[in-house]
């Protein structure tokens, strides 16, 4: 039996950012050190952009 699906939008976004960053970093770079660096930067950029845009959209009643 699968566990119940959590309802945290933030953690869904974190999981998405992590997985996409891993794949892109592996695709784009060949050296392990570069892959880790690129992946970490991409992951950080994903999260930072999501938080910033989240706050920018906060005043809009959608």
């Amino acid at each position: 039996m699968l566990p119940a699906v959590p309802a945290s939008h933030f953690w869904f976004m974190v999981a998405y950012a992590l997985l996409v960053s891993i794949v892109f970093a592996t695709l784009l770079k060949d050296q392990r050190r570069e892959q880790i660096r690129t992946g970490a930067m991409m992951f950080g950029a994903f999260i930072a952009a999501a938080v910033v845009f989240g706050w920018l959209m906060y005043p809009f009643p959608l």
Binding site: V5, L19, V23, T26
Partner: protein
């Protein structure tokens, strides 16, 4: 005046067509298989684990595997993206998974995970193809 061509200037000889087809089909069926077949073990394993997990995660989040319907272009494009992972898609299709629960809070996230895993695998297939051609 004829110039001397160097290895850097001249593209390397392409692989045999059957090999390109084999690598591409294998990479579509099993994420990372194209890299594994060509000795890129680490990359292949990362793609295999990450993309398969992403697809399974999308199903768990109650996403939908869209049907190939020409009447709705967005659904059609989503369906193409869903089919980016060959065997995982076929397993899910024959197991009747991916019906999608529209009222679930995670439905759109599930769709996003499913489609993105397929689209990323298309990029992985192209990378494997480039490696087989000797471009990388």
């Amino acid at each position: 005046m004829a110039t001397k061509s160097t290895t850097a200037e001249r593209p390397r000889a392409s692989a045999e067509p059957w090999r390109l087809v084999l690598v591409s089909v294998a990479a579509w069926l099993v994420p990372g298989a194209g890299h594994l077949l060509q000795g890129r073990r680490d990359k292949g394993l990362v793609f295999l684990v990450t993309l398969t997990f992403m697809f399974a995660f999308g199903l768990w989040l109650q996403g939908r595997l869209f049907p190939l319907e020409g009447s709705d272009p967005l659904v059609f494009l989503g369906a193409i993206a869903d089919r980016g992972l060959g065997l995982p898609y076929l397993f899910a299709y024959f197991a009747d998974a991916g019906a999608g629960t529209v009222v679930a809070a995670s439905y759109e996230y599930g769709n996003t995970f499913l489609m993105t895993s397929g689209l990323l695998n298309f990029l992985v297939i192209l990378d494997a193809f480039d490696i087989a051609q000797g471009r990388k």
